[in-house]
Amino acid sequence: MEQAIQPGMQPVATTFFFYLLSGLTLLSGVFVITRKNPVHSALALIFGLLAQAGLYLMLYAPFVAGVQIILYAGGIMVLFLFVIMLVNLERSQREERFNKQWVVGLVAAVALGVLFVVVYVKGKALFPYRIAQPLENSNTQQIGVMLYGQYMFAFEIASLLLLVAIIGAVVMAKKRI
């Protein structure tokens, strides 16, 4: 207790939080696909996204975590919920839930599994055991510099894409402009 006051970050129960957040993410992922009521699925997805934001925080990437909360949990999921709530759930609940496309699913699962194993086996060589910790303070700044410097072109292309999407949405939604 006496030495508790000291400057600098003190990681608090990092391992515990890592497993807690990962477990939450996985659990909510399972819930997303197994819940019959799409609203419950969406809520599970929100929890998953929040848990992911927690993981980002643990990686000393607070900006990404903040954006994750604002955009995904706060923005996109609200729109998701909107759409789901207005859709005729009665009908969708009577429809079949799984497509029974076993072959495709199996192939995808096997491919992912292989990838996972390969990364796990070779990963130790590919990545250093522990990457250099970027300073939490400069993280946000670095993202800004990167986005508006090195990846300027990609950034602008992405914004153009979004513009196209907006216009498309307006055209589709408005019967008469």
């Binding site: 759930l89 009665e90 609940q93 009577r94 429809e95 079949e96």
Partner: protein, 398 residues
Amino acid sequence: MTDRTMFDLKPTDPKPADDKYLSHLELGEPDKTFLDTNELVINMGPQHPATHGVLRVILKLDGEKVLGTECVIGYLHRGVEKIAENRTYTMFNPYVDRMDYVAAVSNGLGYCEAVEKLLNIEAPPRAKYIRVILTELNRLASHQLWLGTHALDIGAMTPLFYTFRDREEILKIFEKYCGARLTTHAFRIGGCQYETYEGFERDVVKFLDFVPPKIDEYEELLTTNRIWLERTKNVGVISRADAIALGVTGPVLRASGVKWDLRKAQPYAAYSDFDFEVPIGANGDTYDRYTVRMEEMRQSLRIIRQAVEKIPEGPIMAKVPKVMKPPVGEIYHSIEAPKGELGYFIVSDGSTQPYRVRIRPPSFVNLQALDIMVRGALVADVIAVIGTLDIVLGEVDR
């Protein structure tokens, strides 16, 4: 599609009876995608904070846009017209107060004058003046109550308390005059029952000096308030032609630009003696109805002031037979109640009881205009329009 709408979200039984899940093609209506919107039918009332009583409005909505409305009324139906047939002329007099209970004095005036016409008698001038003073005070009270509740519906809380504070002064005068505040039964067939109390004129004059700054106060809160303007301008517009075709009367008709007031057109009581303006509006929207009523308040004050100054001495009761037996015949008499033309059609068969009393309630007829006023508007406008029509359900349903 059944009558379940898109808003009926949770099915009572998600599984079909045979417990078999179907693909969306088997469910029928394959051309209908989930993006197709359905209309939403929403039930406003009969217990709803903004329907001013037990009005039930069934709204058909597309999103928030109103596609159509249907009013379901009658929750407060008491069969006043049937009661009239089973009471004598005198006995029925207090019943009319219970129709438009916020303007009870006007109801009484209309009924008394109709029966007087049928009996072919006339109230003495002093009684007529007292009637005018009380009726105009009542008009003011009614408009104040309208303003408070209307503003409250649109979200401005404060005017309600201001108007009720000032309405209280009117009710105090009523109470001093006849003992009752709301359902006053102030007039009798042939005149007035009570002579004015000591200091009546002083009270009224004091009130006349007291209230104009208060009306300015209400206007200060609302008239130039941007949100108020946006909420009321071009909302619930009713054109001159529509207004006449729908038979709406009172401030609603005048706001649509028809300069017609029964006090001017067919003067009754002592109204021909007074000098006053009939305010009209230009667009027939909610804001015009607001300004018209505000101006009417001021004109009422003008009338009262003249009446108090000119009030003659003399008897207050005409010679009326103890047992009223009007000759066989029919009479239609109407007055300008705060809400519009209030008419009484009375059929006499020569007995002591009216054979038939038909009451033409202004609220009932005005309410009919709700539908065309809110078509294409938003839900919030429905509230504003119900408020601006100034209906009293006691009168709509009788």
